[in-house]
């Protein structure tokens, strides 16, 4: 449980500065420091167990089925990194208290900083790779916030964007790698993955996983060619640079290399990718660092170079190299963080970071200068300092490897070259800043910083010296425990002594020191040479590339999504042709063996009429009224087809819907143009015809293939149980109101919703009243033909009687609620047509939306009523009664449900048509606006 607190405390700590924002600055800083300090103490409390080689674990089940647990593991490596994160974090809190000026919002800075600390702790403590990745992304985001802390500066915003883009893209690669690892090993548990090294490396996906994994590590740890974001992230406040960009975040990639070392390392591919990348980064960083005039720029490239060195060590694949890598992580964090802080002090107290202006600061700030010089000497690898020790181990390992066969000697040579430049830039840092004449053009006189601002630097520098003098005592246990958890098995024999006798590594160190001094003294020639090279402006290049990428994406996007409905439809229909057509190609024959029914003359004539009227609809589609008449013929023929093929219910429904649809479209034409202008180009027409033909051929073929195949229907059940279970002989109706009553309920609900939607669409519509038809002819003067009015009035009771008849017989003979409802609706609509809205309204003032609601309620209550009898929703009931005079009568609850259907259909249909009709007939348009 205490382990969880190590993670939770920094998270809580991110709230502390927000709460204490109004306190004095020092109080706020102190309060912020408390949670990480407690976390550090808890960590140290566990040190004895960790140093004994134990791995402490804590798991909180979250979604165990998905392999997602909150899972913590504290082993040597995690301990080492936690120590760096919390320890240096505390120093940074102290340092930032003095670094930030009165204008800077300190609570905001501390909140971001603690958030970042939480994220880093989450990475190093996670025992679940998905959890690890989550924290990994959180570091990218919190570092974005920290780099852009001075968001009023353009370079801060740009640098932050760049860092986020690069590390975020790497994070996605890492996620892919971790998911693949989870697939390979069957678990997202880190323990399982680390124990499955052999399985992973023999898996076919290993190269892919490795590349994705390394992309994640290398982007985070600023390895060449992804190094460019780090120098641009130097726009951040210096405490951020010291913390994120030297000690912690850039080490996250290295941490992953170390963490997954047992699972991923040891193959040729690993060596090739990791060591070559590391070596290149080491050289490029060391070389470029020398030419930076900005103090932080120099340190940034130096950091890149050292990160390359550690990467190279992990890439060599020997156990000792890994130990050296872990050791250098510790050493680099101490001396580089102190150097960044020293650079911050110099910047703070002299107003500049430009080494061309900063000279001879020794006279102004001797103590800071001494501290910085010691740290820089550690960076250069001067004996008796920590940097020397790990660099010696590095040199020794470069000599022991045989990775490049007979060319293996190149690696130690290149390592020495890099070390030479490392010495040279370290010397420049010391000599150019603290000596070399007097300051030039500084805006203020440099002086020593406040006592406590210097203290973090002092602590770290003392550590540099202590480790350098007595490595075994100070970091022996830590190094051993961390190396143990990296290697997974036994740690090889290694010696942390200062003096190993006269050997080749020592000679390499001497060469590096001498060569570095030589280069520094003759740096003028090198600078001249470097100035002749074309410079690459990383940030502009990057942003241009990003703009290019965004533009390309935009182009692809606007090509796909250009706002044209026709285009989308073409894509969709093509997909239909491909998806539905391909399986047909695999079919040997369309004909399925079921004998066809004979074609008689009536059928042939009906089909001919159907085809001709459909074709005519298309041909005359520009003349909309004609097209409407033609399609009504199609609908009629379809309902005749239903009659022909033994579906009387469908025929009746289709027939009545047809009437309503045509009236509706006719009404709609009042508001829409009567003609369609010719706009499609001939090629467009040809494209559409061919696409439509393809779809038609595919659908027709499928239909034929289905119809000619024998099949087993589930309808036998319905046929067998309609009478006994549902009490009706019209099986279609029994299915609708009984067997599948719930479906029907959903369908009438949809109908009701559609009609309400229409009602809503038509309210407050900008009224558009054409005064004549499309040809320019004025509307007929005779509002309501007398003949129609007379006849329709007489027809109404008749029609209503027919609909009642259809409704009641529906359970046993073709008919039912749907059809009866449509018949009623048509009869009522006829009254609207014949007499106008006012006439109907004065006689029958009903709000149809209420009718819809009543219908749905009737259906719902019928369904719910079965609950009273402890039966499921919509269980039907029926019985037969002997009533005098009338004889035996059947009463079924399904009738009540069907009544609900009936009322809903009447209400919806009338709501739709009357709403639209009211727009026209109640206010006959007179000379307002022409089309």
């Amino acid at each position: 449980m205490t382990l969880l607190w190590i993670l939770l405390l920094p998270l809580l700590g991110s709230l502390v500065p927000v709460v204490t924002a109004n306190w004095r600055r020092s109080a706020c800083a102190m309060a912020t420091a408390i949670p990480p300090a407690i976390a550090l103490m808890i960590l140290l409390y566990h040190s004895s167990a960790v140093f004994a080689g134990e791995s402490l674990r804590y798991t909180l089940a979250w979604i165990p089925l998905l392999g997602l647990d909150i899972s913590i593991r504290l082993d040597g490596l995690a301990f080492l990194f936690s120590l760096l994160i919390l320890g240096i974090g505390l120093l940074i809190i102290l340092y930032a208290r003095y670094y930030l000026s009165e204008q800077d919002s300190m609570p905001r800075f501390y909140a971001y900083l603690m958030l970042f600390m939480t994220a880093m702790m989450g990475i190093v403590l996670s025992n679940n790779v998905l959890q690890l990745w989550l924290f990994w992304e959180l570091t990218s985001i919190s570092s974005f916030l920290l780099i852009s802390y001075w968001w009023h500066k353009s370079e801060a915003r740009r640098g932050a964007r760049m860092a986020l883009t690069v590390t975020g893209a790497g994070g996605l690669c890492l996620l892919a790698a971790l998911l693949l690892l989870g697939q390979i090993t069957g678990s997202y548990d880190l323990d399982v993955i680390l124990a499955s090294g052999a399985v992973i490396q023999q898996h076919g996906w290993y190269p892919l996983v490795l590349v994705l994994f390394l992309l994640g590590c290398f982007t985070k740890s600023a390895q060449f060619p992804f190094h460019f974001w780090l120098p641009n992230a130097m726009a951040a406040p210096t405490p951020v640079s010291a913390y994120l960009h030297s000690a912690t975040m850039v080490k996250a990639g290295i941490f992953l290399l170390a963490r997954f070392y047992p699972a991923m390392a040891g193959t040729d591919l690993w060596f090739l990718l990791v060591s070559i990348t590391g070596l290149t980064t080491l050289l490029v960083g060391a070389y470029l660092a020398l030419f930076k005039h900005d103090l932080k720029g120099l340190l940034a490239y130096s950091t890149i170079s050292h990160l390359g060195l550690i990467t190279l060590l992990f890439g060599m694949g020997t156990d000792l190299a890994a130990v050296a890598g872990v050791f250098h992580i510790i050493n680099h964090a101490t001396f580089k963080a102190s150097l960044f802080m020293a650079a911050g002090i110099i910047d703070h107290e002299s107003g500049s970071r430009d080494m061309r202006k900063l000279n001879g600061l020794w006279h102004f700030m001797p103590i800071t200068a001494t501290l910085a010089m010691v740290a820089a000497a550690a960076m250069a690898g001067v004996p008796l300092l920590n940097g020397f020790l790990s660099k010696e181990m590095f040199f020794a390992e470069t000599l022991h490897q045989h990775l490049l066969g007979s060319l293996s000697w190149i690696i130690p040579v290149l390592a020495t070259v890099a070390a030479i430049f490392s010495v040279a830039y370290s010397m420049r840092f010391i000599h150019d800043v603290f000596f070399n004449g007097k300051p030039k053009g500084l805006t203020k006189t440099p002086h020593e910083p406040p006592r406590y601002m210097r203290m973090p630097v002092e602590v770290l520098v003392v550590l540099c010296i202590l480790v350098g003098v007595a490595p075994g005592y100070i970091v022996g246990d830590l190094l051993y425990a961390a190396s143990l958890s990296v290697l997974g098995t036994a740690v090889p024999e290694y010696s942390l002594a200062i003096w190993h006798g006269l050997n080749l590594p020592l000679l390499m160190s001497v060469v590096a020191l001498a060569g570095g001094a030589l280069i520094y003294i003759n740096r003028k020639h090198l600078f001249d040479f470097q100035n002749t090279l074309p410079g690459v402006d990383a940030i502009n290049t990057f942003e241009a590339a990003m703009k290019m990428l965004a533009k390309r994406c935009q182009q692809i996007y606007s090509w796909l999504d250009n706002g044209s409905l026709q285009r989308y439809l073409v894509f969709l229909l093509m997909a239909i042709v491909v998806l539905a057509g391909l399986p047909l190609l695999q079919l040997d024959t369309l004909y399925g063996g079921r004998p066809e029914l004979p074609v008689d003359a009536v059928n042939a004539a009906g089909a001919a009429m159907l085809l001709i009227s459909a074709f005519a609809t298309v041909v005359f589609h520009r003349q909309r009224v004609v097209a409407l008449l033609m399609i009504s013929v199609v609908g009629l023929m379809v309902s005749i087809a239903f009659t022909r093929f033994s579906a009387p219910d469908l025929a009746l429904t289709q027939l009545s819907v047809e009437v309503v649809t045509i009236i509706l479209l006719m009404l709609a034409l009042f508001f829409l143009p009567h003609k369609t202008p010719k706009q499609s180009s001939p090629t467009r027409v040809i494209r559409d015809i061919s696409l439509a033909s393809m779809v038609g051929v595919v659908i027709g073929s499928i239909s034929y293939a289905i119809m000619t195949r024998p099949f087993n229907t589930i309808s036998d059940y319905f046929l067998a149980n309609a009478k006994t279970g549902g009490g009706g002989t019209n099986v279609v109706n029994v299915i609708l109101v009984d067997f599948r009553g719930f479906d029907t309920f959903g369908e009438i609900a949809v109908l009701g919703i559609a009609s309400l939607g229409i009602f809503k669409l038509l309210t407050r519509i900008p009224v558009f009243k054409p005064s004549s038809d499309g040809e320019g002819r004025p509307w007929a003067l005779e509002r309501h033909p007398v003949l129609l009015a007379t006849v329709s009035q007489g027809l109404l009771p008749l029609a209503l009687m027919v609909s009642v008849f259809i409704f009641f017989r529906g359970h046993n003979l073709p008919g039912g609620g749907f059809i009866a409802g449509l018949v009623t609706a048509v009869a009522l609509i006829l009254q609207y047509i014949a007499h106008g809205v006012e006439w109907v309204k004065s006689r029958m003032n009903i709000e149809y939306q209420r009718v819809v609601a009543v219908g749905l309620m009737v259906a719902l209550i019928t369904g719910v009523a079965s609950w009273l009898f402890n039966k499921p929703f919509l269980t039907s009931w029926f019985d037969y009664f002997d009533i005098p005079l009338l004889g035996k009568i059947e009463l079924a609850s399904a009738i009540a449900f069907d009544a609900g259907v009936y009322i809903t259909v009447v209400g919806s249909t009338l709501l739709i048509l009357a709403s639209l009709g009211k727009m026209t007939t109640s206010h006959r348009p007179v000379h307002t606006e022409t089309i």
Binding site: L565, Q566, L573, E596, L597, N603, A604, L611, F615, T617, I631, V634, G635, V638, A641, F645, S646, A647, P648, D649, T653, Q654, V657, L665, A668, F671, L672, P673, Q679, A692, V695, G696, V697, I699, G700, S701, Y704, I706, M707, T708, F711, S715, F718, V731, V732, I735, L736, T744, E747, V750, L751, A754, S755, I758, I765, V767, P814, F818, V905, L916
Partner: protein
Amino acid sequence: MESLLAGCIGFLTACGVFLLLRGRTFPVVVGLTMLAYAVNLFLFSSGRLTLQGAAVLGTTDNYADPLPQALVLTAIVIGFAMTAYLVILAIRARADLGNDHVDGKLPGNENSRKESR
């Protein structure tokens, strides 16, 4: 007979699709109606064709499959609701946007789109 009906379904589909690809709202509505006929016939025909076999118990020995019929019956009504909704949407779009193009603006005339409410 089956081949004839399949041909009709295919042809109705083709006609419907062609109208669906037009640029103005009304032909699209008509096309959708046409397509609805084709779809209803298609679904109906999946129960195979039966002559003289209405699924009313006691009238015949060879019943037509009642299940696709029940499905298509509601499909017809829902199809009407959909057509109605679409055509009202078209009217509303015409009223709000000042044209009856399916994209709400006439091709090559970006400014014809009015501020929609």
